[in-house]
């Protein structure tokens, strides 16, 4: 079945949403927004969704959102990073060895440096799967995957998801390991394009997007996003464009 990378990732993220939980994504998050709405349409009708800068946001200020995470009431958070390393650290600040003269400067962490520790589960996603995005060590730790056991933390990263593979976070070791490989890619593809050790010698295939997932994404979710002006231009352009 044909689908594009954004559709695949929205479907993979939707599978992480649990019914009855509060699940959220941050600003500039069209793929997780689609994933949240897809989950609500398919298997999580009673999930509370928080999609910032949309009508799916119960809050008036960012402080109100951050305190939901501080309280440990946020079940799932989706976040991306320019760089992600095997320790579950992500970087949203800058690229380059010298912080005073970065090669590239990014907007920074928003509240991720708190939400990453407050949300029960965080799934880190990345639309680029290369050695420059999945690195041995991030240039700047915007949020840390692993912390000592005596540090107060309600949750931690559970997965990293790209358009080629899923990685699972081993909480005790504090390491990401390759979990499943998406249809169309091989173990060698993943090894060649990942800047850190995969932790395993082989991995099974990720279940392909089902006809129901794709149909719901392209019809129900696409319509909802357009009707509610939630990343409407992206939804119109991307969902169903395979």
């Amino acid at each position: 079945m044909n689908y594009n990378n954004d559709e695949l990732m929205a479907i993979l993220l939707s599978r992480e949403v649990r019914d009855g939980e509060i699940s959220a994504c941050g600003a500039l998050s069209h793929i997780p927004a689609a994933g949240l709405l897809l989950a609500q349409a398919l298997h999580a009708p009673n999930a509370d969704l928080i999609i910032l800068n949309s009508i799916f946001n119960p809050f008036k200020t960012s402080r109100q959102f951050h305190y939901i995470a501080q309280r440990g009431e946020l079940g799932l958070f989706f976040v991306s990073g320019v760089q992600i390393d095997r320790h579950g650290n992500y970087n949203l600040h800058y690229i380059g060895p010298d912080s005073e003269h970065p090669t590239q400067r990014f907007p920074g962490g928003y509240g991720g440096g708190m939400i990453y520790y407050g949300a029960r589960r965080t799934v880190v996603f990345r639309t680029e799967h290369t050695r420059r995005s999945l690195v041995a060590k991030v240039d700047y730790i915007s949020a840390a995957g692993h912390t000592p056991p005596d540090v107060l933390r309600h949750g931690h990263p559970t997965k990293a998801i790209t358009h080629k593979a899923n990685f699972r976070f081993d909480k005790d070791a504090g390491l990401l390991n390759l979990d499943t490989i998406h249809p169309g890619y091989t173990f060698d593809d993943i090894r060649e394009n990942t800047g850190f050790d995969l932790g395993v010698a082989s991995a099974p295939m990720t279940p392909a997007p089902s006809a129901e997932e794709l149909h719901t994404l392209r019809h129900v979710v696409r319509k909802t996003m357009i009707d509610t002006n939630t990343y409407a231009a992206w939804a119109q352009r991307t969902l169903g464009a395979a």
Partner: protein, 178 residues
């Protein structure tokens, strides 16, 4: 606000924490064990921010929910610029975040005082002017020139509005009598 410090779930292990001496990892004073980050309170000498409406007594209504309330509560002095100054804010006019006069030292009438950013409910950010700002801020020399042109060599706020706020942004507002 005005508290001495605030504990936070998060930030442990980040490079942000590594670079700041106003945030430390401390044990929970109640159980003596659990560690979290404690951030020293910021205590600004002066806070300056923009709101929709203020009154002659110094009460301020932001017009929308905003975090500036805690900024006003934390700062020693507060100066508020406002789109509109009324004689006395009524409960009906006081929409969104409200800052009582007890925190406020000065209110200043400054229509389009948020430009080139926007003022929620009244005008959107000026996209062209924002792009000029971003471009100018790429290096120190162009940013210094930007500040010279738009801040230091402008005699007052009226001149700024006249020269830098596009007429298309101004006219619809004037018609509504603000």
């Amino acid at each position: 606000m005005g508290v001495p410090y605030v504990p936070i779930v998060g930030l442990v292990g980040t490079d942000l924490l590594a670079r700041r001496d106003d945030m430390v990892i401390a044990a929970d004073p109640f159980d003596g064990k659990t560690k979290s980050v404690v951030a020293k309170a910021l205590r600004p000498d002066v806070a300056v921010f923009h709101a929709q409406t203020a009154d002659r007594y110094g009460n301020v209504s932001c017009g929308y929910e905003a975090e500036v309330v805690i900024l006003a509560e934390a700062s020693r002095h507060v100066i508020v610029t406002a789109e509109k100054i009324v004689d006395r804010l009524t409960d009906k006019e006081a929409k969104g975040a409200f800052i009582p006069t007890i925190h406020v030292d000065m209110v200043v009438h400054a229509p389009f005082g948020a430009h080139p950013a926007g003022c929620a409910g009244l005008y959107a950010p000026d996209a062209i002017a924002m792009r000029e700002y971003v471009k100018a801020s790429q290096d120190d020399a162009t940013f210094a020139a930007y500040l010279r042109e738009r801040v230091f060599e402008v005699s007052d706020h009226d001149e700024y509005v006249e020269r830098f706020v596009p007429r298309s942004m101004r006219e619809p507002l004037r018609e509504t009598g603000s």
